[in-house]
């Protein structure tokens, strides 16, 4: 009897201890995370899809991570201070904030993130990024225009190392224009064509009425979308079409005026007239881009990288070939509306000085190495030296520079821009479904948006330094 009881008791104790041992074992393995061996440090580099290939998307096996894998290999070979392994991961743009918030709250942020600065500014305001002032040298300061440095400076500190810029424009299918009898509106092959708003409306109408149905079945004049925040910069640009300045001097939204309402009215009008793809309220920018590449849309949004990728897809036979050209977003005044995304790498505050140092050195390496910075030609280089080197190869660089004078700052450098983006698309959905009038939409967006900005200012570590 005693023996039996003793046996059961021992069994129960062993069971409990094994569970506890399991928990402890887990903790041990957690603490050793991030290092692959005693001397080697592993750093995580995340990026959203930018350009394919190391230097060019025509390379064999070119993919979104090719450049960073190549850079990581070279960095591991050439870095003297520490043995480093760089783990590169491409994450979907529309999942960026979810992944980052989860990893930040779980205490495991990536070490380096390469992305458009506008989408990442909030992380600087939240104190999740470390300043990069100490890795920026004078030579780079001279080579990169001050406007780009302003773009990556929050408060007094630089948080992103500018790599390339990515100007946003419209793209159009010149073959569809010809088929609709719109030859006179087609710009040169290396031009960014500027139409007046009246001309643009004429183009949309002609595309709707004259596009041959047999050749382009199920096709629409222009791509519009409002499912989520992806590609919302173009929607913001459309809201400026009638002269609205969007932000006042203090960083508050001022879209609720006559011009803002006119712009919202215009969007609703082209949707109701059938000049856009159907179901704008539940279509994403990805859907629209796919439709444009599939020749179901004659005019769509694009940026320098998307444009190059589209051309590369046509060359490789992944997408149907057509004559793709660039145009500016028109405005009532006749001046084009244009903006740019500065892309660059940033370093997260992992609270581990050694990791932060290696991560900063990696960012400096990819942003200053003479060979690596050449890859910025896949967008538009921020470095004058690279632009000059490749301007003969890429005639668009001159056209993009001619647009510089019309550039507007779409983020207004306001804190809480990420959350502000979540406010816009539900309002646009209300506009397109007719749940709200144009006046109600701009009014509601302004009220909600300014609330977000106000709360974010109160929370910003940069504003409250």
């Amino acid at each position: 009897m005693f023996k039996k009881r003793y046996f059961t008791l021992s069994l129960a104790i062993v069971l409990v201890l094994s569970i506890l041992a399991g928990c402890t074992g887990k903790e041990e393995s957690e603490s050793s995370k991030g290092t692959t061996s005693k001397d080697e440090m592993a750093i995580k580099v995340w990026l959203t899809p930018q350009w394919k290939g190391v230097l060019d998307s025509s390379e064999d096996g070119a993919d979104y991570d090719s450049f960073f894998k190549h850079a990581a290999e070279r960095f591991s070979e050439e870095y003297k201070d520490q043995k480093v392994k760089v783990e590169v991961e491409v994450i979907a743009s529309d999942q960026r904030d979810e992944l980052l918030n989860v990893s930040l709250n779980g205490g495991t942020p990536p070490d380096v993130f390469f992305e458009s600065v506008f989408a990442m500014g909030d992380y600087a305001h939240r104190g999740a990024l470390v300043p990069l002032n100490d890795i920026v040298d004078d030579e780079s300061k001279k080579d990169i225009a001050q406007s780009h440095w302003n773009n990556v400076t929050f408060g007094d500190d630089i948080y992103f190392y500018p790599f390339s810029q990515n100007p946003g424009t419209l793209a159009y299918n010149a073959d569809m224009f010809k088929a609709a009898g719109l030859e006179k509106y087609i710009g040169g092959e290396s031009d960014i064509k500027t139409w007046t708003l009246a001309e643009y409306e004429e183009i949309l109408k002609a595309l709707k009425d004259n596009l041959p149905k047999d050749k382009y079945s199920n096709a629409f004049p222009m791509g519009l979308y409002a499912l989520n925040n992806q590609g919302d910069t173009w929607n913001l640009a459309y809201l400026r079409m009638f002269g609205n300045q969007f932000f006042d001097g203090e960083g508050n939204i001022i879209v609720n005026d006559e011009n803002g309402v006119k712009a919202a009215d215009w969007l609703k009008k082209i949707y109701d007239n059938g000049y856009t793809n159907p179901g704008v309220e539940s279509v994403s920018s990805n859907d629209v881009n796919a439709m444009f590449q599939n020749q179901q849309l004659a005019v769509s949004f694009t940026n320098a990288i998307l444009f190059n990728n589209a051309k590369a897809d046509m060359e490789s036979g992944k997408a149907p070939k057509f004559d793709i050209r660039l145009a500016n977003i028109p405005s009532e005044s006749g001046d084009p509306l244009t903006f740019t995304y500065v892309t660059g790498a940033t370093v997260f505050n992992t609270k581990d000085e050694a990791r932060i140092k290696v991560s900063k050195d990696f960012v400096k390496f990819i942003s200053t190495d003479a060979e690596l910075v050449k890859s910025s030609k896949n967008g538009v280089p921020v470095r004058t030296s690279v632009t000059e080197e490749f301007s003969s190869e890429n005639p668009y660089f001159a056209a993009y520079s001619a647009n510089d004078q019309y550039m507007f700052n779409f983020t207004g450098n306001v804190p809480g821009y990420g959350q502000l983006r979540q406010v816009l698309y539900p309002e646009l959905q209300a506009l397109y479904t007719g749940a709200k009038t144009s006046k109600e939409v701009v009014e509601s967006y302004q009220t909600k948006g300014n609330e977000v900005i106000e709360t974010s200012k109160a929370d910003s570590v940069i504003y409250n330094k």
């Binding site: 129960a12 409990v16 939240r126 199920n218 159907p278 179901g279 859907d287 309002e427 209300a430 479904t433």
Partner: protein, 291 residues
């Protein structure tokens, strides 16, 4: 004192055996719940946490999107559960006494969607319904029929989600009902037939009352599942148009992961937990009653 010591000694083995389970329960259930309640009283930044009392709850109840998502969640719960129970009862009562192979076939046919991931199902429905390049709107345009935006019309989006979720989940209820109905004593049914009761009467007067415990189980389980409806919203509508299809879970997700408002998200979590708890009480009561 001696008695207490003796009884403690006698029960020690038992306590040690349930200790692992209790440990898991405390770590993975009780602790997250307590932590959720605590976080709901704080404003959380990357660098610090500030106690704000019930401020997060106040903000929630003054947010029209939260109110809308609560209403939507209630609509989903009522309609999806009613449809599931009604349809599953109808199908099961019709086939449970038929040929075993036929019953197996029907059971399998309805159960396949349950086995398919909700993500896959949502993507298939998205492929069918996307207004720009979905199959159904495309066919409608080709046939020159007036096309309807199933995902972008505020009047249609809720029925579409109700149907998609119902179609995916109903198999589970059918399986449970058939098993339960097969268990109804044959003599009772035969006696009713001898007495000349119609099939309808047999269903309403005998089968439905006798499978009542299964009905309660299906209702409670479905309520809890539908309260947490998320994947289909995320993949099919993104909560749109203009928050018309937002649910509590989707609202929680947005606040936690998109807007980084962990305090608000935790407050929604606490409210959902209390709701689920309240709805589970009848089931728990029924269970204890049986015992």
């Amino acid at each position: 004192m001696k008695f207490i010591k003796k009884s403690y000694k006698e029960n020690l083995t038992g306590y040690l055996f349930i200790a692992p389970q209790i440990l898991f329960f405390l770590i993975f259930l009780v602790y997250p719940i307590m932590e959720g309640v605590r976080l709901s009283l704080f404003k959380i930044n990357y660098q610090d946490e500030v106690f704000v009392g019930l401020e997060n709850y106040k903000r929630l109840f003054s947010d029209p999107v939260f109110v809308q998502s609560t209403i939507n969640t209630v609509i989903f719960v009522v309609f999806i559960v009613a449809l599931t129970v009604g349809f599953a009862l109808f199908v099961s009562a019709t086939i449970f006494d038929k040929n075993a192979k036929y019953v197996s076939f029907i059971r399998g046919a309805y159960y396949i969607p349950v086995m398919v991931s909700m993500v896959v199902m949502s993507m298939i429905w998205s492929f069918l319904l996307n207004p720009a390049n979905g199959l159904i709107p495309f066919m409608a345009r080709e046939l020159e029929i007036a096309s309807v935006n199933f995902l972008g019309d505020t009047r249609l989006v809720l029925p579409v989600i109700i149907f998609v979720t119902f179609a995916t989940n109903v198999g589970q209820a059918i399986i449970l009902y058939i098993a339960s109905m097969i268990g109804v004593p044959k003599e009772t049914l035969e006696a009713a037939e001898v007495d000349g009761a119609s099939k309808l009467k047999i269903v309403f007067k005998i089968i439905i009352p006798m499978v009542k415990p299964t009905t309660i189980y299906i209702i409670i389980m479905n309520i809890i599942a539908v309260l947490k409806i998320f994947v289909v919203i995320q993949l099919l509508t993104g909560g749109g148009p203009n928050n018309a299809s937002t649910t509590l879970m989707y609202y929680l997700y947005n606040n936690a992961f998109k807007y980084n408002q962990l305090g608000i998200a935790s407050a929604v979590g606490v409210i959902m937990f209390l709701l689920t708890l309240a709805l589970s009480i009848p089931q728990l009561r029924a269970m204890f009653k049986n015992n």
